[in-house]
């Protein structure tokens, strides 16, 4: 269980870093969904199955769809350069 938790935490942190540093906004939204899915795995391992279900269904699914629709509405899906850092 310890190794599963550590693996899920590593996946979660890697996806969070990708969220910040990926240039494509659609890919960044997908990375946020990956963060939520890894978090659902951690919740299930922490003996919180109800929270894991809600996290996977609502946070990963619903808010992922919401953010992807926002990316489409604001026309960010083709600006891969982004007005990010510079």
């Amino acid at each position: 269980m310890l190794w599963l938790v550590i693996l899920a935490v590593v996946v979660m942190i890697a996806a969070a870093l990708l969220t910040v540093f990926l240039r494509s906004y659609l890919a960044a939204v997908a990375a946020v969904s990956v963060v939520s899915l890894a978090l659902a795995v951690i919740f299930a391992l922490l003996r919180a199955p109800d929270v894991a279900l809600a996290e996977a269904a609502v946070a990963a699914g619903l808010s992922g769809v919401l953010l992807a629709l926002t990316v489409r509405r604001t026309g960010l899906w083709r600006s891969d350069a982004g007005d990010g850092k510079k």
Binding site: A48, S63, T74
Partner: protein
Amino acid sequence: MSPDALLVAEYLGRALYGGAILLIAIGIYAMVARYNLMRVLLGLALVESGVNLFLVAIGFRPEAAAPIIVGGVTDVPMVDPLPQALVLTAIVIGVGVLALAAALLIRVKETYGTLDTREVAKFLAAEPADAAPAAGTAVAGTPARETVNAGSAS
């Protein structure tokens, strides 16, 4: 508890709390250091996830069962169900917050034509502070004044 199990619990706590704090730190970085509002929104989602992980990790005890009573047996050690119930609420509220922020983001894009916070700040500095209800005050350099007025009139 055996010393081996104590060691495992120690590492488990470090991984969980470290992961939660790193997630919150990355989210705050995305909200503070980036200029695109979409990136700020994603950072907000990351901070929410980190706080949820932190709260569930507080309620966790090693070698305890899930807080589900099976067959009326209540004397087994269980993890704390209170943070789990609150986090369950917080997840749903988080989606609501995200939806509101996304709606505001779309509105900013329609009104100012950009999502860069620096350019939005320029537009906000260019228009006078009390010009919001006055329709038809044409400020030079704002491309979508009609959208603003239509939005405030409706």
